[in-house]
Subunit: 172 residues, 8 copies
């Protein structure tokens, strides 16, 4: 049985799905249930408003919004809820995604969108940030985050061993 | 008695009013009636949706939207109407207004915002563009536009005379 | 028999045609007749001036100008007419099209160019904007625009269903 | 008696204090206790590491980091904690703050910094975002956020009345 | 009696005159006669076309065009003449003049505009470049250029002496 | 027998040759003799200085300098001659060639570099600009330039016919 | 037997290794021993701190840090040592590497990072800069640098011969 | 008596002196003798070449070059020496100094310029970097650097105390 979603993962177009899937997969790896939706701030504005306005009532804690170009999705959702909204600017518009980044992050005072990195790194980090928020009162989840951090360290150390060995073998 | 407005001039904040007033004043100089509103895409999103959705019914022909930073106002209004929406990006955010320009112009296929120049020149040009649209089936208005264009020419010629004279008097 | 064109679709180079064709195709889908021209602001400036100056007399209502790099085409046409001119900045110059965007949008007070998004999205949106303008006094066209907007919504909803299903099947 | 801080407000230099004070003041308006610190990622890196590493143990829930130029503060703190870290890029470096924005937001996968707008708007929004996070399991705080949102609406409506009146009186 | 102008110094607006005057003054210092005109590419396009088309016949050798924002002036003049056209992008538009720079320099193959630096340095350099061109078959003018270059060297050496002395006196 | 070169075409690296060849080819099409050199401002600075300093004496009239990244070549050559120096910024550095453009065009007062467009268009235009300069006292060359301009017009008209036909055949 | 490393070559990710290898190879060509490490400023911050803090004691003279996106690696290492730290910004983040460049170079007063060019050129130049520093009191190394500079000249001259010949043979 | 300079501090214009003086003052605070020169890469290129070529012979160890706009000074000096050259990009050109930054840092492989931050922070950091290099074989200088780093820490801690007190007194 599907657990009730705590995180709403929303994207402006299904062409974003291959990258945004990493958000969902990362949440899943932390056993945080999410739902995935395509909602366009400009083409389905009523759905966007309803989705955000009803999110808390439906049990969502956090909304993640991924969009490109004039990336209004995060801002439009944030306008209709007081839940934390995390914005993932997508590449592919003008200036290698700078348009999406600025349109997501430069929100007016009172209506924040928590913006993460452009593209794939941002898709993962939106999930991690959501988990960090949910972990504030769930010690088990906090423990998973610390374990994840240890795993990241391990990966860097393994990469270090490979590079170090690759260089040193030149003298062998 | 106030005539019925044909153009809705909307701004995201009353701090934009000193510049946006030029939009209204320019429309007024062409005897095109407008109404001026402060509507925030993020702080009063329901008002934005209602305003745009009801605009045609209320007799508006064109909506002009001026906003800065993550300038979503034009896009949010365009999402709720099929009237032409003209966007004026305001300076003052990041990168000398580039954030507002990109957030206004980079709309997805299907939902255009007719974007004009940043700041004061854009505030005037939004009005001229609105008049050009309304003039399509009003010969009298088209005549005024041609007269306005002649006046612009005259001003440039007068400026030319001043500069020409200023330079030539050095040899006198 | 070809109907009389109401929209002039002008591009600076025939290398723009594959993208600008979407402007013409979109207009065609709304049964708005257009003519397509290659006119260079710099290589055929007299043609550009004549085209714009004679446009209203020939029955054109709107001119759409697509150009890249130092994209002067929209501005040059706007200088010679009081018809609305819509500018489509093309990618491929410096900075991923920023040169074309700024050269198109930053017009001086008095001579607006209604600028839409860079590249393909802008090519479609120039057509939609033209239809929105023409629809102001044609209820049938306005109805088509509303239908088009409904179709956009439907497409987003279908995309949503696909993504939602794709994610949920992981738990199946 | 001072309540125990839940939010750590950290800035890279005391020259940021006049703007960062708005973060603290906004938190205070929501009765969320915060502590304010000057910690430099580059000049006091050990303090930065210790502060972040010990934050959860000391009862902090969220860290807000404001910094300019090569704004590493948010990233350095995020490296040493699994608490949510909110980054406020400060203006004043190169390109009107673009350096601080990119250095704050472009974090690698695994270590997010929740980035808000440049400068003053960001300083306020960092606080609002922190309150949104803390409100997830505090209904009273969530109620305050909704009230705050209503107050923002009221302010926009009042601004609207002023502008509307200012324009309409021209016909009086 | 005024000598016949060899260089046409054209600016898009008389607000540019305080800076463009340095172009005229510099030409004057080399005894190269110039005429100064305000011609707008967008407001007086016919004048622009006529001016450029008739320039060679009237004895002009070089046209210098200074303009800001969507700076089309150089390009429009170059379209109507085969004389060398030198473009001076003026600051004050978007992005500290980047719009003017890109709109001036990014001309299509076949129609060059010789672009110099933004603002004051460019205003001087447009004149120097014009003199360099005219000097190609005037040994006396070439000698003046060499003398000017020597004078620049002298000024740098004097500045060097001042700075060197200013620093060394600290040990006195 | 090779005629004496009037234009020195210099590039910073032989990797620029495929594009810079268009400069030489274009000059050749106008029967203007040029020589082609690889000289690096940073790797062979003495050669750069000698080349520029001796250029006039060797009969060169104009130097064209193509370089990328921190494109100092034009500036270094201009420092050692009073001949006109034309700069072609090459793409491939940071920001799609913006580094090369700014490093070429932003010369200090007194030492201009006549900058043309980035990459291939600039490579052609540097040649055209050089021909325009040489044509000032060669009526035959001026006539060729006018013919070239006519040819450009013809090409645009042919492209126009193709596009016009391609669109109109849809109704056939 | 491996000699003791004098230069620590550190990269933020092993995906940087193919480019950073050129740093190591260049140092090797000058017989300067280096060690190569993968250390992440954000994932292994303790390792970064320890590496930099212990570098001088372990006999390192210079640290080279290559990183992309929010490239904090150079800054974090510089915070923990008084050895010279050379930063190589890697491409691949936002804006073609501008994020990495600004995050590396814009360090606050007191904690410099000696920044070199983006990507491959920077990878080589970091090594050359390190050799220049080490050569200050090693005449043999300084001699190698002069020889290297001569080799660069030779390569440019050979390239020049090829291009010159390629062009001239067209007349043969 | 003036000690022999070890660091040559060169600036492109005496208008840079108020900021570049901080480089000299900082070196002086470390008892590192420097000489200060105004040398223009473009106006006094021979002096630039001679200065760099003779620097090592005259006992200089490091050259610091501060310049703005098309900032070629560092690159020109680096071309004529194998000593380390540190570049300080000055603000005031286009794009808030981005032109100077890119022109300084984007050097081709083989000829590095060690670039530091824009403006005042860079002026100080060029000096610190020079001291770090010189300290490699001078334990006394290295000790001063460590003391300087301690002093920076102390200043941050004092600033922290002020801010902490300022905030906490609100509850008093």
């Amino acid at each position: 049985m599907t657990r009730k979603a705590e995180v709403g993962v929303v994207m402006g177009s299904d062409s974003d799905w291959p990258i945004v899937r990493e958000t969902a997969t990362t949440l899943d790896a932390f056993d945080v249930a999410c739902e995935c939706r395509v909602i366009s701030a400009h083409r389905t504005p009523e759905t966007a408003a309803e989705y955000a306005a009803g999110a808390a009532r439906r049990g969502l804690k956090i909304i993640i919004a991924a969009a490109g170009s004039a990336a209004h999705l995060g801002g439009v959702l944030a306008a209709h809820t007081t839940l934390p909204v995390i914005g993932v600017p997508m590449k592919g518009g003008a200036l290698d995604g700078l348009d999406a980044l600025l349109a997501t992050v430069q929100m007016p005072a009172g209506i924040p969108v928590a913006t993460v990195a452009l593209g794939r790194a941002g898709a993962v980090n939106a999930a991690i940030l959501a988990v960090q928020i949910l972990a504030l009162d769930r010690p088990a989840l906090a423990a998973k985050l610390r374990k994840h951090k240890t795993m990241l360290k391990t990966k860097v150390r393994q990469a270090n061993s490979r590079v170090q060995a690759d260089w040193e073998k030149k003298d062998a």
